[in-house]
């Protein structure tokens, strides 16, 4: 990212400005004092810093506030290069991609070049492409400039942020005092547009030099025509000829250039071919997409469309197919499900808030990179932050609500792959955090608690299946894993398996404690009754695990678990509950753990423990 920043003193008087780049220091000289820096990145987020300068050199980090709007990359498609030759466009073989989604057009191409992108949905977009700068495939416009000084300056100009454009253009001019340096053609052009727009006295010289350096460029020709318009006594003929020459040579790379060209030709009146060019070009003006580059829907550069242009023909031979299939791995897709609820009104409202916030998130989507979304539902706010790991294949997620006591304890289930869920709940600071979540197609579910739970608020609501699992005939004699869940805090792994013909078994694994740990499971039977089962896990130094059969479980009904209860909890349970739990024990380790708890139980239950194998 590249952005422009202004620095003010403690009276808010502007003292300096600078261009900043991600991960790079920008040097400014300031006398000792207190200062504040502020700028806006081209995509919208603000940069801020407050700092005090002593005598020594120091580095001040800028903080970014807000996130740019997400741009969801397409999955793939094909691209074709178009070159303007004389009076028409012809297809030409595009160069190889630099990476999976980056293209650089050689400066040797010269003339006007268009890149046609036909995406996976066969939508065709044509973008007039600059040479010598990396272009990213994907996004709404088909291709876009990668973040850099050219993209920043053109975007500031496009958005009318002239103070920021001034900072970037001044910096560019200080580093290359004149146009014509190798690989700087787009930046030179962008500076030309800036100088023209702001009536800068250097515009005349800069654009003259640009005309020598880029004689075939449509942008340069347009700039030169407008330069001539500002010269007192300049003949009408010379200006019109320059405008007509620009219109005859293809299309400008910069969208502003296209609008200037049309406006200039309109003012040229009946000069030569000007009216015909106006008639032709105004179709582009209507079709023009938002953004700094000239881009429009179309199946070929000569025929812009105002709506979508859908490619219906065969795959042409002179195209380059590309696949952005890697993108979805770092592009979590969000789906939200809300289960029906019979909870208290405040809790229902809180659950609705979370579900609605997640639904809004779903509609806007996520993109790779750190991001923050602020969602407001019925006046309540919920902030969603996503932080990718360095390699962008894992993410940390945080949901943060405004103070709302009812939200505490609400469990959000994040399904990361089929059957694998990570569960987290809102804590007493109204936050719900997921850490180290792998990229993938995410499905959030706001978990529903039991109607009349036996267990208290520390219980974690677990995912339910929307329908009974159906298994192939060959599986009828084999247990099948159907859910794998990581409980909040990531201390407990829960695996639910289907045991033919109609049984479910839960395996619980967690770090072993110094004493027996009781895990409590509360679920709904097919008849509608809620039952409690206890699973003791033995002490030890490594992992402890145990299994319990959840007899007659309704897999579509709410269920929940308490990960850790002291052995003394047994004394609060009825004998029937303990007896059923002992009978449901399905692993040797759990049976051993029951034996160590026998001293807390009645003689009848002790006898039962001795009977289990």
């Amino acid at each position: 990212m590249v952005g422009a920043v202004e620095v003010v003193d403690d009276r808010l008087v502007t003292v300096t400005s600078t261009v900043v780049r991600s991960e790079q220091d920008a040097a400014v000289e300031l006398p000792p004092g207190r200062y504040f820096a502020r700028g806006w990145l081209p995509a919208g987020p603000q940069l801020q810093a407050a700092f005090e300068v002593a005598s020594a050199e120091q580095t001040v980090p800028l903080h970014r506030c807000g996130e740019p709007p997400a741009d969801r990359p397409g999955a793939g498609g094909w691209l074709r290069l178009w070159r303007h030759r004389g009076r028409s466009w012809s297809g030409t073989v595009p160069p190889e991609l630099l990476t999976a989604d980056v293209l650089v057009l050689s400066t040797s191409h010269g003339g006007s070049l268009g890149v046609q992108i036909v995406d996976a949905d066969r939508r065709s977009t044509i973008t007039m492409a600059p040479t010598g700068v990396p272009l990213r495939l994907g996004g709404a416009a088909g291709i876009s400039l990668l973040p850099g000084v050219e993209a920043t300056l053109l975007t500031y100009l496009d958005r009318g942020d002239l103070p920021s454009a001034r900072i970037v253009a001044s910096d560019a001019m200080s580093q290359a005092p004149g146009p014509g340096e190798p690989d700087s053609s787009l930046l030179d052009t962008a500076v030309g547009y800036y100088l023209l727009r702001t009536g800068n006295p250097r515009a005349d010289w800069w654009i003259s030099e640009l005309s020598w350096a880029q004689p075939d460029s449509v942008d340069t020709t347009i700039l030169n025509a407008y330069r001539l318009m500002q010269i007192e006594g300049m003949g009408h003929e010379s200006i019109c000829e320059e405008l007509v020459r620009a219109a005859s040579n293809g299309l400008p790379v910069v969208a502003e250039g296209l609008r200037l060209l049309i406006s200039g030709l309109v003012r040229a009146g009946d000069h030569q071919d000007a009216p015909a060019h106006v008639e032709r070009l105004r179709h582009y003006a209507v079709a023009l997409a938002q953004g700094p580059l000239t881009a429009f829907p179309g199946l070929e550069p000569a025929a812009p469309r105002t709506g979508q242009a859908i490619w219906s023909g065969e795959l042409p031979v002179d195209v380059l197919e590309f696949d952005l299939g890697a993108a979805p791995e770092v592009e979590p897709e969000v789906e939200v499900r809300e289960e029906p609820s019979a909870a208290e009104p405040a809790l229902r409202a809180a659950r609705r808030l979370v579900a609605a916030a997640l639904a809004q998130l779903q509609s806007s989507g996520l993109r790779p990179g750190r991001q923050r979304r602020d969602v407001t539902v019925d006046g309540e706010e919920l902030v969603f932050e996503v932080t990718p790991s360095a390699n962008a294949v894992h993410f940390d997620l945080e949901l943060r609500a405004s103070p709302l006591p009812a939200i505490m304890g609400i469990v959000v289930s994040l399904q990361v792959t089929a059957g694998v869920h990570v569960l987290e709940s809102f804590d007493e600071t109204y936050r719900c955090r997921f850490t180290d979540v792998p990229a993938g197609a995410w499905v959030f579910t706001v978990r529903q608690p039991l109607t009349q739970p036996r267990l208290d608020l520390s219980a974690v609501s677990l995912p339910v299946l929307l329908r009974e699992p159906a298994f192939a005939a060959s599986d009828v004699h084999h247990s099948t894993e159907i859910l794998r869940m990581v409980a909040p805090g990531r201390n407990t792994l829960l695996v639910l398996t289907f045991e033919p013909p109609d049984q479910y078994r839960l395996e619980v694994t967690q770090a072993a404690g110094v004493t027996v740990n009781l895990v409590a499971v509360e679920y709904t039977e097919r008849g509608g009754a809620t039952v409690l089962r206890l699973l003791p896990l033995p002490p030890g130094t490594g992992r402890a695990s145990g299994s319990i059969d959840l007899q007659d479980m309704d897999i579509r009904a709410p269920w929940q678990v308490v990960e850790s209860l002291p052995p003394e909890y047994l004394t609060t349970c009825s004998d029937d509950e303990v007896e059923a739990s002992i009978g449901a024990t399905a692993s040797r380790a759990a049976r051993m753990a029951w034996r160590s708890l026998a001293g807390l139980l009645s003689p009848e239950l002790q006898a039962l423990i001795e009977e289990i194998r």
Binding site: L12, F36, M229, R259, S263
Partner: protein, 393 residues
């Protein structure tokens, strides 16, 4: 009467031409047929334009009358609509004319002549009403559709007006256009638009500072709320009042190059980030000063705490710069603190008393156009060895 005020042409002055078209009496269904009828249906009665034009006029009379750079010289105002068409001026109440083409033409000629009287003048043009674009921008006046077969003969062609003004001596010319910039292309394709130019356009024009500020980007509609001035007008006046100001030389000045970015940020602040304002092309925006503020601009702020739940316990204060003196304060509430005050550096303090959080203070610049900040606060840690109650204050 369209001349609301005329204070002469001595010295640099701001001369304004303000037009708000709310009624289109010739755009009724029953008087057109064929494509004209379809086009006429586009130009419905509007409530916002007259209110916007009147609001702009009131602002000029209140804020620009004795402004230092270019005090108000004159206002030509033409308004039509269901709203009151009277304006109170220092010389009394004036009832203004409707913006028919002849009335606008006459007012324009007076405005242009006054602007041309001094190189230091600021020409101020404001239009609010329907609009459409087909290569050029057109501004239909009240009598558009009056002549069957020449639907747009009573519309202004803006581009030639702006370029024609290139030979006017006013070195700063501001054009604020609060109008749509599209009409369905299939409709306009049926038309050769014969709108009228108020001035001959020239290809060669002198350098001047002439921002054309559109309320919406090319090809888009301009949004408004019925019965109140348009959001663009409100943001524009806020920008001119000081939200577009900076202090390059120790004085708060509004410059032409900050108008669009300020208006866009104001609209985003009010929850309208998608409706973008932009400069028109083909004229220069050199960044000349059009207003010097007598005091400090007002800056809207939103202040909160991170985490947000700390707001329930936080006594928030704005401290006088570099002191502990409280300028403003707010009792604990779950919502962020919204307000507006003079642009300067403040201390922002969140105090919790014996609450769950540690008091926190930081200096911040209240800097136009607006400011939003969440103060990071830390929870108390009773086991942290007696952490004080004022961690970084």
């Amino acid at each position: 009467m369209t001349t609301v005020i005329d204070r002469g042409t001595d010295g640099p002055r701001t001369h304004a031409l303000v037009i708000g078209v709310g009624l289109y009496p010739h755009c009724r269904n029953d008087i057109h047929d064929g494509p004209d009828a379809a086009l006429a249906r586009q130009f419905t009665t509007l409530t916002a334009p007259p209110l916007s034009a009147l609001e702009v006029t009131r602002w000029l009379l209140a804020e620009q009358l004795d402004e230092e750079t270019a005090p108000l010289g004159s206002i030509e105002l033409l308004v039509s609509g269901n709203a009151d068409q009277t304006v109170t001026t220092p010389d009394g109440t004036v009832t203004v004319d409707s913006p028919t083409y002849p009335a606008v033409e006459a007012a324009f000629d007076r405005w242009r002549s006054r602007c041309d009287a001094n190189e230091g003048n600021v020409a101020f043009f404001f239009f609010s009403g329907h609009g459409c674009a087909k290569g050029k921008q057109y501004l239909p006046l009240e009598d558009v559709g009056r002549r069957p077969g020449s639907f747009f003969s009573d519309a202004i062609e803006l581009d030639s007006l702006v370029h024609g003004m290139g030979r006017n001596r006013a070195s700063v010319q501001t054009y604020f256009i609060d109008a749509c910039r599209m009409v369905p292309a299939e409709l306009l394709d049926k038309y050769e638009i014969n709108a009228r130019s108020l001035l001959d356009s020239h290809l060669v024009t002198a350098r001047r500072d002439a921002p054309v500020v559109y309320s919406t980007v090319s090809g888009e509609v301009a949004r408004a709320v019925e019965g109140r001035p348009s959001p663009f007008t409100e943001a524009m006046l806020q920008a001119l009042s000081g939200s577009a100001a900076a202090q390059p030389n120790g004085r708060w000045e509004v410059t032409t190059d900050r108008l669009v970015s300020a208006i866009n940020r104001i609209r985003a602040w009010h929850g309208d980030p998608e409706q973008l304002t932009e400069y028109g092309l083909g004229t220069q925006v050199t960044g000349r000063t059009i207003r010097r503020l007598k005091g400090m601009p007002q800056v809207p702020f939103r202040l909160g705490c991170n985490p947000r739940e700390a707001l329930l316990e936080a006594q928030l204060s704005l401290l006088v710069p570099f002191s502990d003196q409280v300028a403003f304060e707010r009792r604990p509430e779950p919502r962020v603190w919204e307000g507006s005050t003079d642009a300067q550096v403040y201390g922002f303090r969140a105090a919790f008393g014996p609450g769950r959080y540690v008091d926190s203070t930081k200096a911040f610049p209240l800097w136009p156009p607006n400011y939003e900040c969440d103060l990071d606060v830390l929870p108390h840690h009773d086991d942290a060895g007696g952490l004080g109650s004022d961690a970084n204050g």
